[in-house]
Symmetry: C2
Subunit: 225 residues, 2 copies
Amino acid sequence: MNKSEMVEVLSRYFEPWPHLSPDEQEGLLQNIRFMTFEKGASIHNGDNDCLGVLFVKTGMLRVYMLSEEGREITLFRINTGGICILSASCVLSSITFDVHIDAEEYTEALIIGAPYFSVLSEKNVYVQNFAYKLTADSFSDVMWTMQQILFMSLDKRLAILLWDELTKTGGSTLYMTHEQIARYIGSAREAVSRMLKYFSQEGIVELGRGSIKILDREKLRLLTK
Amino acid sequence: MNKSEMVEVLSRYFEPWPHLSPDEQEGLLQNIRFMTFEKGASIHNGDNDCLGVLFVKTGMLRVYMLSEEGREITLFRINTGGICILSASCVLSSITFDVHIDAEEYTEALIIGAPYFSVLSEKNVYVQNFAYKLTADSFSDVMWTMQQILFMSLDKRLAILLWDELTKTGGSTLYMTHEQIARYIGSAREAVSRMLKYFSQEGIVELGRGSIKILDREKLRLLTK
């Protein structure tokens, strides 16, 4: 990626860009780099690392909580065009919690390294405001997820996930393991398997090996309400 | 409260104060007001109102989620000296969720009304950054709570609550109903009653009518670990 392409990306996705001095713009261009992550790669691992701000060019990231016993709860995902700020949490003093971030698919990203981002957000209040605003976006995502987990029954959560995946993929068969689904909706694998079995008895799905075929879209849709 | 007292409070608690123009400072002083809330009063009720930013002079606020079925989950509390930003969520476009806020005790607060705060945070990036930074503080509080609710066993959550209340009140008897405790720790009353009965069988507490006397502090402390 050459410099003018980089400038185009930044002026489009990095809101504070016009509020940067020429020196700051130059500094930023020198401290931004292109990185790729294999599917499944760990990008941020609690408080052990602090990569920086990620602009997802293509791919998908998954942000999740991890308990001491290894239980995962997916908080939200970041798609192509999205920006990941929690991977720069060390820069932001008001963020005192830690999350984990994986590449859920092969991902290409532009990264402003944490050390330079720290300098920049210290000097330029527009940059800091941009970072905290993104944090508030993440907060909103997390609150939505918490509503689902804490207040919504498992059948509804499962139906919503299947419906969303259907809409995303376009087809009628989903290739996901029960383990994966459980992680996505913050439940236990056994509970998901049980509920899927119930869905299949109801004629909503047909379960295959590592696949779920949706037989009755209307029934599924009603369950999401 | 006269003007010079107000200026003192603002220059102390309102971080962006020195970054305000004389006009903005004057405008703020004209748009801040003193309010009191009775114990139990509702301050913010989902998306139905948007009072503004509250500086808690004395008292305590409770911020919580409410399910459609009326189940409450306490997210965090704001004590004397704290600032409540989620009561101005309508001003901040990145906050798309809604919470409820009650006065848990008789509370006195200074309030920057939402309409003026909106104007000010639009004009002055320092004000907006202050607001989003406070939002990130709340996010950190919520993540802590979620860790407790989702990953921690009920006995530990209950022990931590009792221990915290003990420390707060100084005495050895707590006056709380099981219903209240359940709300505080995001559980069901029945589950809390069961666990308290277990605690009492273990000689940790003695249960009275609307009261819980702590008999064995050391055992309770160990449960919080």
